[in-house]
């Protein structure tokens, strides 16, 4: 992992680590090992995953930038904001209660259903409504990731694909990318060239923004375009299988992370 030889090996991190409780969880695949599934429980979808948590283990903020300056900024901004909101909500501030509920839903601390229950009858601002929509879409991804087998996953993928087809996408960059990847994968499995094409364009734009003219992106795009052509041909009565992937390969299109 790049962060181990990078940020975690610096004197600045040594100093930063004294301000928090530095906890390292290692997924080992050793059978029966305690807390082996903790990554998924805390909302992790790949490696490395860095989060700030409270004393009960509830997620306070997910870390993006993997630098000591980034850790300090998250601690000062996002973590502090959560703690301030929680204190205000506890003191009875109605605006803080709404914000906190939305934030807890976004972080996966509470289910989308719980968010809806808590916000029932409350008047939300436009931004809060948009955030509620993001919480709903994020919950769809989380639900899919909890699928134990393909049979359970398929209807959840369909729900995401249908939601995308209706014009909705998460605002968060990582969730948006996942939504598109899931939709593309589902559309390929369903031999739906229109939906493949619809998800392919924005997903290709994301990969190109992240990786520029990386040959893996070009190769992946070529395969998708071939697949779309094959599916269209098949609709006319002929076709074959090009065996494409929804993503552009290992380590490709995963932002700054080395998942």
């Amino acid at each position: 992992m790049q962060v181990e030889g990078g940020a975690f090996s610096t004197p600045e991190f040594k100093e930063f680590s004294t301000k928090v409780v530095p906890f390292m969880h290692v997924t080992t695949r050793i059978e029966g090992r305690k807390d082996e599934g903790l990554l998924a429980e805390k909302g992790g979808r790949g490696f490395p995953y860095i989060v700030f948590m409270d004393e009960e283990g509830g997620v306070l903020a997910v870390q993006g930038e993997r630098t000591v300056a980034g850790f300090q900024k998250t601690l000062a901004d996002k973590v502090q904001r959560f703690l301030d909101l929680r204190a205000k909500a506890k003191a009875g501030d109605p605006a803080a209660q709404i914000e906190l509920t939305l934030l807890e839903g976004d972080l996966g601390r509470i289910s989308f259903e719980e968010v809806q229950t808590r916000l029932k009858g409350k008047k939300l601002t436009d931004e809060q409504q948009a955030m509620l929509g993001d919480v709903e879409l994020g919950a769809m991804i989380s639900e899919l990731q909890k699928s134990e087998d393909e049979a359970a996953a398929k209807p959840r993928m369909k729900r995401i694909a249908d939601t995308f087809a209706s014009g909705r996408l998460p605002r968060d960059a990582e969730k948006k990318q996942m939504f598109l990847q899931i939709t593309l994968s589902y559309a390929v499995s369903e031999e739906d060239p229109d939906l493949v094409e619809k998800a392919f364009g924005p997903l290709k734009a994301i990969y190109e923004q992240q990786l520029g003219n990386d040959p893996r992106v070009q190769e992946w795009a070529r395969k998708i375009e071939d697949k779309i052509a094959e599916m269209r041909d098949a609709q006319k009565g002929s076709g074959s299988d090009s065996g494409i992937e929804e993503g552009c390969g290992e380590g490709c299109g995963e932002g700054s992370g080395d998942k």
Binding site: T10, F13, K14, V21, F23, T28, F47, F52, D54, E56
Partner: protein, 66 residues
Amino acid sequence: MRNAVFLLLLVAVAAGEESLEERLAEKLKKPFAKNALWVLDFGEAKTLAAEKGKVIFGYFSRSYAP
């Protein structure tokens, strides 16, 4: 003789393939793991956070693959 050859083969395979436990041990020997007082037990991390009034900085990694 055949048993001896089989045994040698087994030893050779074992030497070439690290166990999951060995991979974990290797991970924890890396220099970064010594640069902070990393807590490896989640329960202990929560207890320390409560006692010290600090938040937990959770790093999730893996040892089964590079």
